[in-house]
């Protein structure tokens, strides 16, 4: 075996390797980095964790559904900004005014003056017109169903012409579309697959560096708002689990992140520099497949069962065990009682009962013919009141909800069996209608106007019979002509008073039918490190929806915060 004759040499190689690795390790430990986010010397910098996991691929294309999160809001801006955290008028961004014509077929927008692209070129209405025309002409990019042509009538005015009445398109157009520069994008070969490596936008920051593990944005010196932004650099990182995120937070490495951390108060107990804000926005609800006529099967098709569930659950206990105490009170109108107070017509329907009302629940079930069986579960016409509720494995707070509700509903004779599925299967069941009960949430549209949830979840145009894919959103298979008419009427007008009258009709129906049974408003917890930057939204001043994953609001927050002066 001639291969191994060089014995002394082999030993030498061994020792050399050992020495080298030890030396390397000790040297690297010595040069071991200060893992804090701020580099005092080069200006103020913060680190953001926006929920990105795994490797990061470069995509700053504002039209792409897989664009990196800061693209919309931080690098590119929209015409207006809608605040979903508290009641307020849309804030003008790249537009300073807009006006509809009588029939809602023409929208005139006045754009802001004195705005520059971050490559120095001036911004004008021509860019806005170009953006909307590009979307209209490219079906792959037209995710909002825009059916309009745009024309820049002068330096600062754009007119959008629609084929039909389109009042309800307003938030999508004004608040959910990033404006791109015509002088760059007219030469782009394929706007669908364009990666847009050095994005030219009007936003407060521009891209400084990019790697597959992290990327950084730097201040845009030409930003149109005087004195903003105050922060010099924003860095984004990727973390795998909530545990890794909480470790980074408590070690002071992350300045801004949104994660539901169980026991948050305890984690932050001794940490002076850490603060959090809670902006509940999504109503956690039990989706029911409620319409027997469209093929739903099971006891939940009986409205009495749904009402009984609504009354029997103990929302206080659910909030404590599953919501961490942070959840807000839900409303049977599926709106947010605080932010949407003006849209909730009947004060009786403002908030759902917070404690279990087993007496009412029992009465409703008794009156409907569900008699208590020997094993404690109700029966009617030979059918047991047994329901399955599906959840996604990994959504531990929803799983806790199921465990608690199972006990609570047993008190009124309902047998609830939770099942855990993969996300794919759960989603397929919901869109196809092959479920009885499902835990999901409702909310977060382009603007707080109730038209969007009511249209998406309750209008029969957006549903299909069980077995077909109801991808438009009415998974409960709800079909009520009164509601349909009211929603359509509300969508055809721009007058808020008229809309309110129609919503009153809708709410009267849905609080009775309850195809979606609200539980509570799921907290959106966002954690901040206040030692490097201040001016974050607080529980008293929710000037923006603070979640680090939210598009558009991220730009508002990043340009509002200021560095902490030592």
């Amino acid at each position: 075996m001639l291969l191994f004759t060089r014995r002394p040499g082999r030993r030498l190689a061994w020792t050399a390797a050992a020495v080298a690795s030890v030396a390397a390790l000790s040297l690297s430990a010595c040069s071991g980095s200060d893992t804090a986010g701020a580099n005092g010397a080069s200006g103020s910098a913060i680190t953001v964790f926006n929920g990105a996991t795994g490797t990061i691929t470069e995509n700053f294309n504002p039209f792409s559904p897989t664009a990196l999160q800061p693209t919309l809001g931080v690098i590119f801006e929209s015409l207006y900004w809608y605040n979903l955290a508290s009641e307020s008028e849309p804030t003008p961004m790249l537009a300073t005014g807009h006006e509809w014509n009588e029939d809602g077929t023409e929208l005139t927008i006045t754009t802001r003056e004195g705005v520059k692209w971050n490559d120095g070129e001036p911004f004008s209405a021509a860019d806005v017109a170009f953006t909307f025309n590009l979307v209209n002409e490219t079906p792959e990019l037209n995710t909002t169903g825009l059916a309009a042509t745009a024309e820049a009538t002068d330096e600062n005015t754009v007119v959008l012409s629609f084929t039909e009445q389109s009042f309800m398109q307003e938030p999508e157009i004004l608040g959910n579309r990033g404006i791109v520069p015509e002088h760059i994008w007219k030469d782009v070969a394929d706007p669908v697959t364009e990666v847009n490596s050095n994005p030219v936008g009007t936003g407060a920051f521009k891209v400084k560096s990019f790697s597959a593990q992290s990327y950084a944005l730097e201040k845009n010196a030409d930003y149109w708002e005087e004195g903003k932004p105050a922060i010099d650099e924003v860095r984004y990182i990727s973390l795998e689990t909530a545990d890794a995120a909480s470790a980074a937070l408590t070690a002071g490495q992350v300045d801004w992140m949104s994660a539901f951390l169980p026991g948050l108060e305890q984690l932050l107990k001794d940490q002076e520099d850490l603060a959090y804000v809670n902006t509940p926005a999504l109503t956690t609800s039990i989706y029911t497949c409620s319409n027997a006529e469209l093929g739903c099967e099971g006891p939940q098709t009986d409205v009495a069962v749904r009402q009984a569930i609504y009354h029997a659950i103990d929302r206080t206990q659910l909030n404590k065990l599953a919501g961490g105490g942070f959840a807000g009170e839900g409303s049977p109108t599926l709106l947010l009682p605080e932010r949407d107070a003006k849209w909730i017509v009947d004060p009786e329907h403002k908030v759902a009962p917070q404690t279990a009302d087993t007496a009412t629940a029992n009465k409703i079930l008794d009156d409907a013919g569900w008699t208590l069986g020997a094993d404690g579960i109700r029966v009617k016409d030979g059918q047991k009141l047994a329901l399955t509720i599906q959840t996604v494995t990994g959504w531990s707070d929803y799983i806790s909800l199921n465990d608690a509700m199972r006990q609570q509903l047993k008190e009124v004779g309902i047998d609830l069996t939770p099942t855990q599925l993969s996300w794919n299967e759960w989603n397929a069941n919901q869109t196809g209608g092959t479920f009885q009960l499902s835990l999901d949430s409702i909310g977060l549209y382009a603007s707080p106007n109730p038209y969007y949830p009511y249209n998406q979840r309750y209008h029969s145009d957006n549903t299909t019979p069980v077995g077909e894919s109801a991808i438009s959103g009415n998974f409960a298979r709800y079909s009520n002509p009164v509601v349909d008419a009211a929603v359509r009427a509300a969508g055809s007008t721009n007058d808020e008073a008229e809309q309110l009258a129609q919503y009153a009709i809708v709410q009267e129906q849905i609080v009775n039918d309850l195809p979606y049974i609200p539980i509570y408003i799921n907290s959106t917890l966002t954690e901040f490190n206040t030692s490097r930057a201040e001016g974050w939204p607080t529980n008293d001043d929710k000037y923006a929806f603070a979640a680090s994953w939210k598009a558009w609001d991220n730009g508002i927050i990043l340009k509002t915060i200021t560095p902490v002066t030592q």
Partner: protein, 323 residues
């Protein structure tokens, strides 16, 4: 990683196994040593806990307003984030994990014996095709396959996970068994039986299989350890049977509930500890089985040397005097 301590190609060149028959078959059982005693008693205790425990403890899914609390106040091992009894969950989890281990052990035994032993004994085309099949199964990446298969089936039960784990892990054992069987096939006593007209299946069951029992046992124990650890890994990734209680799913929920970070050691430590103890016990049992397969190991332990009551110096001089 489950590594065989005997490579079949080497084993073929050194045939040290005696042929048991009749009275001497008793030597197949491992002699009781301290290691074996400890291993059996720990494994036995855990198995007993898993078998009887669930009948004695309360409802593991019952939520309680007390939330996350340390041991005490009626809860032996404290409670989880939703006030569920950790000790009760541990009992049910033991049963779940042991079920997985058992199913995988049995399936691995059946599959690897069939494809390894029978194939090698029969020889010819059957052997070639069985060997090809198990080699192909071996090179197909196991963990990704498990991930994909288990995400395909909607309602993941403990049985499904066990089945999928067995499916992706029998090939290694089959290869080892095949190697041994090939060497056994050419032994004198087997050839003699053939010549004397014994039927194939009788030779297989009476002459060949008993020799393989120690190796089979070792492989099955490895498979059980691998299954339980594999299930824990899958559950950690969120791909396990999260609707049922196993040690892996308990750890998954503890991890999601930030148990370690919140200082809730009573939730995070016990399942992992049980896993480690059970695995350790099985490893100790495997050591003892190894000593059957390779009798030289038996005589080398410190315990045996101590029983000779000779010091190291005496041993050294004894050794030198024999050279």
């Amino acid at each position: 990683m489950a590594l065989t301590t005997q490579d079949p190609t080497i084993a073929e060149s050194e045939s040290h196994l005696p042929a048991p028959s009749g009275r001497t078959r008793r030597r197949s059982l491992p002699p009781m040593t301290l290691k074996l005693g400890i291993g059996l008693s720990i494994a036995g205790a855990i198995a007993l806990f898993g078998l009887i425990g669930p009948y004695l403890v309360g409802d593991p899914s019952r939520v309680d307003n007390v939330g996350l609390s340390a041991p005490g106040g009626g809860f032996l091992l404290g409670t989880t984030q939703t006030g569920q009894d950790v000790f009760a969950q541990l009992a049910h989890a033991t049963r779940g994990s042991l079920t997985i281990g058992l199913v995988v052990g049995v399936l691995t035994l059946v599959l690897s014996t069939f494809f390894g032993v029978v194939g090698a004994y029969v020889g010819g085309v059957v052997d070639e095709s069985f060997s090809l099949f198990s080699n192909v199964m071996l090179v197909i990446p196991g963990l990704p396959l498990v991930i994909v298969i288990s995400s395909y089936v909607p309602d993941k039960s403990v049985w499904l996970i066990a089945f999928v784990l067995a499916l992706t892990s029998w090939a290694g054992s089959a290869r080892v068994l095949r190697g041994f069987t090939l060497s056994l096939r050419n032994r004198d006593y087997v050839l003699a039986s053939r010549v004397s007209g014994e039927r194939s299946w009788r030779i297989l069951t009476v002459e060949v299989l008993p020799n393989l029992i120690p190796l089979l046992a070792s492989q099955v124990v490895f498979a059980v350890i691998f299954a339980i650890l594999g299930e824990a890994g899958l559950s950690f990734l969120g791909l396990g049977a999260s609707g049922s209680f196993t040690w892996g799913t308990m750890l998954y929920y503890a991890q999601n509930g930030l148990a370690l970070r919140l200082g809730a050691w009573w939730w995070f430590i016990p399942p992992g500890l049980m896993l480690a103890l059970f695995g350790a016990a099985l490893s100790l049992i495997n050591f003892s089985i190894d000593e059957i397969i390779n009798p030289k190991l038996r005589s080398q332990t410190r315990a045996v040397r101590r029983s000779w009551r000779m010091s190291r110096a005496q041993l050294q001089s004894a050794k030198e005097s024999t050279l």
